[in-house]
């Protein structure tokens, strides 16, 4: 298969929750793809729909919401797929790791048993080979004395080590795609650097695609090939990390970048995007960002800008994108 052939293709994904008889449009028209070995970053403020995107892809969101659109995987559509068939893919071909490993590791089972469980469920390896593979995985993620640690319980590992164990379990079955939801947010920068390094190395060595959710643009800059910026359930800008960070075009991306306290005179006021994100039950009719946008023009409050290609490799959903000179002056 060609390098750039996507392994995952998400097309027009919509996810709607219902509360008190009202429809909450958590995701609208979300489209992107992930190629082999590619790391795609998904950024945005809390509540923008990052986790729901991952959960919709892997079939978790449909348990409590309506999911429509297409998630194309190996020639099939995961949105339409029956639960049984989907379970064959979850954990085997597509793995997911969460922010807090303690909630997804079973505190009552040893780490070795949990690794074995995964391998038994998702591979055809015989028993002895499963044990070897378990040791190999712990080793791979940098856990010292892997063989001895198989019989330890999750609480016997530090936060960083637990996250490694999570990654070892997630990757044990050699998935083709990793969905990582803020895998380092709860960790120290030193451990974060180690874990991101590990994910990058594994993506390369195993030719695995990665969808990495984070709210830290620094993590995106240091880890991802491409980035998609989400706002109120939609992707508002998408492109190569280098290009987007150097020259953001969507006013929201510009605002996000400006509020990071980097390269500023010390103790000067920090930039902050005015206002707060809209609630899902009160989305503005036109562009959802309009009430907070300093570039807002007449059509913005009536029509919704579609995500469209504005230059080579860059998609932006905006009627009045920021130009390079404006971006620098801002």
């Amino acid at each position: 298969m060609d390098e750039n052939t996507p392994i995952l293709q998400v097309d027009g994904l919509n996810t709607t929750f219902h509360r008190n008889g009202r429809a909450l449009p958590a995701l609208r028209d979300v489209s992107f793809s992930v190629a082999r070995g590619e790391v795609l970053g998904l950024v945005g403020e809390s509540g923008s729909g990052k986790s729901v995107t991952l959960r919709s892809i892997i079939g978790l969101a449909r348990r409590y919401g309506d999911v429509t659109g297409q998630v194309r995987w190996q020639g099939r559509d995961l949105v339409e797929m029956a639960d049984r068939a989907l379970r064959q893919i979850q954990g085997r071909e597509i793995a997911m790791i969460f922010q807090e490993p303690m909630t997804s590791l079973n505190p009552l089972l040893t780490v070795g048993l949990q690794l074995e469980e995964t391998l038994r469920a998702h591979t055809d390896l015989p028993r002895a080979a499963r044990r070897d593979r378990a040791i190999e995985m712990l080793d791979l993620v940098g856990i010292p004395s892997a063989a001895q640690r198989l019989k330890d319980y999750p609480h016997q590992f530090s936060g960083g080590m637990r996250q490694r164990v999570m990654i070892a379990i997630a990757l044990a079955a050699n998935p083709k795609l990793l969905l990582a939801d803020e895998p380092t947010t709860a960790l120290d920068v030193t451990i974060q650097a180690q874990i991101l390094d590990l994910i990058l190395r594994l993506a390369q060595d195993m030719d695995m695609g990665v969808l990495l959710v984070t709210h830290d643009l620094g993590v995106v800059a240091q880890t991802c090939d491409n980035v998609a910026v989400m706002y109120a359930g939609r992707i508002v800008e998408q492109g190569l990390v280098r290009d987007v960070l150097r020259e953001p075009r969507h006013p929201y991306t510009v605002g996000l970048m400006r509020s990071v306290p980097e390269n500023l005179p010390p103790r000067t006021p920090l930039y902050s995007v005015p206002g707060v994100p809209p609630g899902l039950d009160a989305l503005p009719p036109g562009c959802a960002f309009a009430p907070r946008c300093t570039s807002c023009i007449a059509p913005c409050s009536q029509d919704r800008p579609a995500l469209s290609l504005i230059t080579e490799g860059r998609q932006v959903a905006c009627f009045n994108p920021v130009t390079k000179s404006q971006g620098n002056a801002a």
Partner: protein, 332 residues
């Protein structure tokens, strides 16, 4: 900025862990967590002193000692020249008023059943800041100070967003007209945009009210931005302290170098430039001998394994605790 407002000298805090059954059988004494291992630090009037270090290094323990939530095992804290743990000072409520702490999670520090108005009024009456008749006016003034609308008075903490709750925490701290604010991860749980608003407010209030701030946070970019000086803590010891810009642009201690370089830069061209730090923080149950950093330090020598380096002035740019700081920074 005039003079030192607080002197912290050789502060130690050991948390007893109790004895495990195995300890009883073998006759081993109970183990202790060495949370602080000789912290010395001056707080200068009007400054913001940032405190950084990996989780578990003792930042919160230090903050809690300062507001006397914890009593140190050894060492002293002097405020206005008085030892705050001295028997007379213990009973002195004025210190509690003059040094106020704000926490990361106001859920656990704001009474969920009290309205904002009640929370602020309580702070005012506990410290007898105003005669009862003047309390409502002061509550209104405090809300204005932290840019909350007046109807916030009648709402409960859960009715506010995260950023607004932090404003309430700030208002409550300011109610008693403190001189020193201890901010322990005050904005760490907030989105960048909200974080920026709260930080701006804090910096502005610092100017107008002449506050001294100890700013504890794990977000290095933010600490760099708000601080005048910064202290780097490793396993309960300060390994480097100095002017914020100097320390962040050219850290001198090997640990500061590794820690600061691990913060992911916004510039994709700086990939792979981090000084790789192998391993994790050793357990404070098992303090390494000598320099606490020697097990992870690529410059470690035999001396480092046996002898504890003390914090010494380095090139007129703050203090560093490292035997080899001169060589390491020779061509810097």
């Amino acid at each position: 900025m005039t003079g030192t407002v607080m002197e912290i000298r050789d502060l130690h805090l050991r948390f007893p862990m109790g004895r495990s059954p195995a300890d009883y059988v073998t006759g081993r004494p109970g183990r202790v967590v060495n949370a602080l291992n000789g912290v010395s630090l001056d707080l200068i009037r009007g400054e913001t002193l940032g405190v950084v270090g990996e989780s578990g290094c003792g930042k919160s323990t230090l903050a809690r000692c300062i507001v006397r939530l914890y009593t140190p095992s050894e060492g002293e804290i002097r405020f206005d020249g008085q030892d705050v743990f001295g028997t007379e000072q213990r009973a002195d409520r004025a210190y509690n008023r003059r040094v106020q702490m704000m926490f990361q999670d106001p859920y656990s520090s704001l009474n969920p059943r009290m309205t904002t108005g009640q929370i602020l009024a309580e702070a005012l009456s506990v410290h007898k800041m105003r005669p009862d008749a003047k309390i409502p006016a002061r509550v209104a003034e405090l809300l204005e100070l932290v840019r909350l609308s007046q109807d916030a008075q009648h709402k409960l903490p859960h009715e506010f967003s995260g950023g607004q709750r932090q404003r309430i925490a700030i208002a409550r701290a300011l109610a008693v007209e403190p001189e020193v604010l201890i901010a322990d991860e005050l904005v760490s749980a907030l989105d960048v945009s909200v974080q920026a608003q709260v930080v701006n407010l804090l910096l502005e209030l610092q100017e107008t009210l002449d506050l001294t701030i100890l700013f504890v946070a794990h977000d290095l970019r933010l600490v760099r931005h708000v601080s005048n000086r910064v202290a780097v803590i490793y396993l309960g010891r300060i390994v480097e302290v100095g002017d914020s810009e100097t320390l962040f642009s050219a850290p001198a201690h090997p640990y500061s170098q590794a820690l600061l370089s691990a913060a992911p830069s916004l510039n994709p061209d700086e990939r792979g430039k981090a000084v790789k730090l192998e391993g994790e923080l050793p357990s404070p149950l098992n303090m390494p001998s000598g320099c606490p950093f020697h097990v992870r330090c690529r410059h470690a020598t035999e001396t480092c394994k046996t002898t504890l380096p003390v914090l010494l002035p380095f090139k007129g740019r703050g203090e560093v605790a490292c035997h080899h700081v001169e060589e390491i920074n020779a061509n810097a």
